[in-house]
Symmetry: C2
């Protein structure tokens, strides 16, 4: 795809934003329902996806990645259900976030408006195509999609349905645009278009994020990389800590809010770690202990020797995305906080404690998007937090932190109304 072609696509997106800004919530919701219905009834979708999967298998893609790109009737139903859920959420556009009458009679109000043109670069999972499209159309933003080459056939059908759905609702079909060129050289050129693209959302590996960091001149929301910690304090209820750790590690091990490292206070390590290791090993979790933790777990009742090992230095600060975690014994809350400051990606970190002062200090001093007391890290999620759907989980500080829901895909303008009012 030529730079000129890319520019044209961007300008079409800009033009679409203008029309989307003026559209009604009824139209935007109608587009989303139509999108769901069209995806549901697209009888070429599964075969196109199978062609993608076969090509990827031939190219030697790992089984876990093959699974991520595979569509099934169940997964399609999840996609369309998500799309309908977004349609049912309240419309954030036009919301007055703050407003007052100034002493001079001026009426000022912060009114919520779309962010503009968003570009998303993502890998493998084709569900992202409809997820991001639906969230962007709902919020009046135009979206430029750049999916992985492994899912191009699937994405082309999905994007075509999203575009047709917009048109059917009287919205510009250019609200959703898919870059079909798989040329890798294209990404830096896309990231140079800071005059057209208001925000880039990379969804994928650290490599993708680094690429974006290197080339993007527009705002970027980074997210989705979670090295998550739980600290078992000396005062924790040990028995009740077991299911929290088990849940944080095993409920969905491949997602960003899954637990990666457990820190245990040395005064309870001997009592807790054998039980914990047995509990985790029982669900197939591989536990990597540091030099103080490992001996306490080895040989304990219920543990499985093949699932216990020594933690290497690089196992701390590592996002496992699988049924593995690392364990370290620490001597104080301070040491736990310092470890988290060093290794956390500022996604989700928590303390298990019954000590009020320690809970307060942990919450104040651990600087992560979500900080937990006595709960599983698995809750960092737009749906769980009651924000509705989310487009990503931000681990940066500006604009939005944690789950990015509909409101986080908007900005605002100040509307100021007077009676031919002048400043004194």
């Amino acid at each position: 795809m030529s730079t000129v072609g890319l520019q044209r696509l961007g300008q079409q997106a800009r033009a679409a934003v203008k029309l989307l800004s003026a559209s009604s919530g009824i139209q935007r919701n109608a587009a989303l329902l139509e999108m769901a219905s069209r995806v549901e009834h697209d009888d070429q979708l599964l075969s196109a996806n199978q062609a993608d999967v076969m090509a990827a298998r031939e190219a030697g893609l790992a089984p876990a990645l093959l699974d991520r790109l595979t569509l099934t009737p169940t997964r399609i139903a999840e996609i369309t259900e998500g799309c309908r859920d977004v349609a049912a959420l309240p419309d954030p556009l036009g919301e007055v976030m703050d407003g007052r009458v100034l002493p001079n009679g001026l009426r000022i109000a912060k009114r919520r408006v779309p962010l503009g043109v968003i570009a998303s670069i993502y890998e493998s999972r084709p569900n992202v195509t409809i997820e991001i499209s639906s969230l962007c159309v709902k919020t009046g933003n135009a979206i430029i999609l750049r999916g992985g080459k492994e899912t191009l056939r699937t994405n082309m059908l999905l994007a075509a349905q999203a575009r047709a759905a917009c048109a059917a609702a009287g919205l510009p079909e250019d609200a959703v645009q898919l870059i079909t060129s798989t040329d890798r050289e294209l990404v830096p050129r896309l990231l140079a278009m800071d005059d057209i693209i208001d925000l880039v959302i990379p969804r994928g590996s650290r490599g993708l994020q680094d690429l974006v960091r290197q080339y993007a001149h527009m705002p970027v929301i980074y997210g989705g990389i979670g090295v998550c910690h739980l600290f078992v304090d000396a005062s924790a209820d040990l028995e009740r800590s077991l299911p929290v750790i088990h849940n944080a590690k095993t409920q969905a091990p491949s997602v960003c809010n899954a637990l990666d490292t457990i820190l245990v206070h040395s005064s309870v390590a001997a009592a807790f770690l054998p039980q914990m290791a047995a509990n985790l090993n029982g669900s197939g979790v591989r536990v990597l202990g540091d030099e103080r933790a490992l001996p306490l777990m080895q040989g304990a009742a219920g543990t499985r020797p093949e699932l216990l090992d020594a933690a290497a230095p690089e196992d701390f600060g590592r996002e496992f995305l699988s049924l593995t975690l690392s364990v370290k014994v620490v001597d104080s809350l301070d040491e736990a906080i310092a470890h988290i400051a060093r290794y956390s990606t500022q996604h989700s970190d928590g303390i298990l404690t019954n000590d009020y002062a320690n809970a307060q200090r942990f919450v104040a001093e651990v600087d992560s998007a979500a900080v937990y007391v006595n709960a599983s890290t698995r809750f960092t999620d737009g749906g769980q937090f009651g924000l509705g759907a989310e487009v990503a989980i931000s681990t940066q500080r500006m604009h939005a932190r944690g789950p990015l829901g509909l409101r986080e895909l908007t900005t605002y303008k100040w509307v100021v109304e007077g009676d031919y009012t002048v400043r004194r």
Copy 2:
């Protein structure tokens, strides 16, 4: 200054943020009051500033710029008053922005916290040194200052007082750091420190902003460049429009929310422009008309021929920062909106009208940080909007638009408290 030195300075700022995050509002306000008092009583300040001014005069700096860098007892009083005003504002830190109990009993809250390490690169005006320092200390952020070389002597004294004030209040003096090297090569190196600096605020010319755009890999808040428009609609109260335009242009011509271009509906141009030109010429404003506007103004009663001229194409989309403006006759609201979309910097744009539908359309379709109906553009200001002091006026879309007050210098974390709660 070496890269190592710059890194050390950044790490000191990071360490300061940790302490600032844990400080009380009482301490931070005490630091601000101490800062005001110390600046007020610094008996070397005026002589250091005079040395700066003399050196700048010898270097051939333009009189307007010389004026900007000159301190007087009155200006010092304004600086210290501003500092005390910031101390008196409510503390944004710790504010709970949103919170609820989820059905599973989890208590979640968005708690306001500092952004982190902020770097500001600015030109000439030494009042910025204390203004940004006070706003950052108030909000628990550390600030790295890089002022213009013309004001280095003045800035060194001001920064030293700000640091001493922090220390006196029990805060880390590294909360405020001044880069004293005037090596221009240092700016790109500063902008490469995205692992340490959370936000860059450039305050100055378009050249500075372009430099930052080229090199910065961290978030940046651009602002302060305002090409501002007022559209005189066919239904405007012409008599009452005169003082609004006069105010928007003349009250403070050198600031970013001053008026730059007037668009007049053709149906009222003949009636309005002669009066307007006379009104503006009477205050020394030079009026540059397009080919339809100029003949209507030339020779009108009260106009001054030497203050009327033809507008060149580049006089539209130009920020005059002086007693000059450009005028264009348009045939419709659509043409006015299209002109603004093309030439505005999305800072402050307004309509003067008595037509309800036109007012609504203008507000909906003009995509600027502040959109006005029947008021002067001069109100786009943190103080005027009731936000207290401001650090800049953002013309970008992410994080914050328009005046950046205390809240806009913060972010938030999600605090989640449970009772050993797991996700189902």
